[in-house]
Symmetry: C2
Subunit: 202 residues, 2 copies
């Protein structure tokens, strides 16, 4: 249902703004708007504040590319971590999946995406030059490719494997304990831990 | 995936705030947060502003209970509308559905819900006293019950029909052109227009 002329502007604007959320169409946006305004204005205020705080307060970590409140994030700043190991993941959720195993003590690089030629996302769009700079710090010895076991994730792993080996780095891939076709985020911690331990040269 | 200790606070807060949206679980909230921060910070800013503008700028219209920027909304303020006809709907979306027929020129009352005993929503929770005050303005002659043709909508129509008839008002119900069990919001304008014209004494 389109907005009629009589709908108040702030409501029309809110519905439009909610549609920027991934997977939210106009009907869902409208229901979200009515729900917040009618039943939970406090949650609407909290969401408004959380959005602006996150936008103003977060930057990309200079080392791992993840979201951070400081130029170098808490993980990258942790001197107790093994500086010679770098695990490459697609998203912060994937990093969370690996952290949840409490079994990996190296560092990360978060691609914030993956190579997807059909969507026009190549090495340049992913800013992979930044990753290649990162691995050239003289301390990284092994890179673990932990992109998803989807077709885009495998393409990305293949591309990165070639580029990183060409720089003389040891490159490994998570073991295929992860069911083919699935995404890391949806795999239980035990399986991820096992795949991490069983990683093989790529 | 729960947030690890290493996740920056503003990101954890944003994920938590997004979960207040109806139908949004933690995984979806996390994807929404990453998407906004990574790909569309401008949309995040716009959503933040739209939420606070809507919360600060909208009130419930004193006459129809709908969302409005002014104490009396533009529909209720329109002297060209038939003041003797009052159509009762569950939500602003349902009002939009009827407006879209360009066939109804009376006024509205928006319940912002429906009687749902199983959810603990009765006449009091819906503030039906306010509706009964509204219809006692001396100008309303006929009330059209346009609640949904669901079991809660029918219960609400039945309850309202009795209360309104007891006050000497003529009460009608949308004709059953609307398929039983369906919700107004999902019915095409032609069907709604037909059901409006064929309305019967209730
Ligand atoms: Zn970092
Ligand atoms: Zn009004």
């Amino acid at each position: 249902m389109d907005a009629p002329m009589s709908e108040p502007g702030p409501l029309t604007d809110l519905v439009k703004a909610l549609r920027a959320l991934p997977g939210v169409g106009v009907r869902t946006a409208r229901r979200m708007a009515y729900h917040l305004l009618q039943n939970d204005p406090q949650a609407a205020r909290a969401l408004s504040r959380a959005l602006s705080d996150a936008i103003e307060g977060l930057v990309h970590c200079e080392r791992c590319n993840g979201f951070s409140q400081t130029p170098i994030c808490v993980v990258c700043s942790d001197s107790g971590r093994d500086q010679s190991l770098l695990c490459i993941v697609e998203t912060p959720s994937d990093q969370n999946s690996i952290e949840a195993t409490h079994n990996y003590l190296g560092l990360y690089y978060i691609l914030m995406g993956r190579i997807a030629p059909l969507e026009g996302v190549g090495a340049q769009e992913l800013n992979l030059k930044r990753l290649l700079d990162r691995v050239s710090d003289g301390r990284v010895e092994e890179v673990i490719l932990a992109t998803n076991f989807t077709s885009e994730g495998e393409t990305t792993a293949h591309y990165l494997g070639e580029a990183l080996r060409a720089r003389g780095l040891k490159v490994s891939r998570l073991a295929r304990g992860v069911p083919a076709g699935s995404e890391l985020e949806y795999v239980d911690a035990g399986t991820v831990a096992w795949a991490m331990m069983e990683r093989k040269p790529a």
